[in-house]
Point group: C2
Chain length 122, copies 2
Amino acid sequence: MKPKPTDAELEILNILWQDEPKTVREVHDLLKAKAVGYTTILKQLQVMKEKGLVKRDESKRSHSYYSLISQEQAQITMLDHILDKVFNGSKSALFMRALSAKPSSKEELAEIKALLENMELG
Amino acid sequence: MKPKPTDAELEILNILWQDEPKTVREVHDLLKAKAVGYTTILKQLQVMKEKGLVKRDESKRSHSYYSLISQEQAQITMLDHILDKVFNGSKSALFMRALSAKPSSKEELAEIKALLENMELG
DNA sequence: ATTAAACTACGATGACAATCGTTGACAAAC
DNA sequence: GTTTGTCAACGATTGTCATCGTAGTTTAAT
């Protein structure tokens, strides 16, 4: 099983998920709002490679990085984690919080309702 | 704003939320399955006090600890966090994952549906 | 009062996360 | 072909998390 990515790792993964592959420089440019050094990104990608979260294409001059964990996997991993840690495994409690925390848009409510309809057919 | 509790801190908070206040020894006894030392729990509670996650009643011989963050707050904090980090702020994406990840029981589906009904009235 | 038990405080450690600077290799430009 | 700039590797640093051992303090029992 893939490890749970750290917050900084997730920021990088989000960039990769959006458009792969990317070089260190490209990731760094996209994260420049964070004002973090080039070598920091490089190191983070190296660590992530160690963990099996990304792979590297070294055929070119600038190495390119691909994610090895999908956004779906990461989402499920994160959800399972907080479900276990703060919601005592109660999915409905999680839904309640998600629904009441910040008001959802009508569109979102409609989407969610549609999901539920499909669910009940199964 | 309260900081996001760490995993170990959440284990302790879960115990406090269930029944407050508790002494170090009481928390330790309840966590003995984890085989962690008494002083570890003590230290953790001290750190949590520094962070403002708990408060301490020192009037008695054995100090008693109270949570200063509610389970609700913690749940919302955690949800907001992963919503931001892995779901790009899309609540419906979160719902989709939560619904499809592990099968929900019929009871849970019913509960969630009821929540939605109430929601739409507002 | 003296001691034994229970409890807290403090410091230390090892692991991991996040950050950066320096060095050395390579390639492009002159 | 020498210089200049770009890039990855590596090591070092700082901070946080999780854990524990020791020392000191307070209560209670003798």
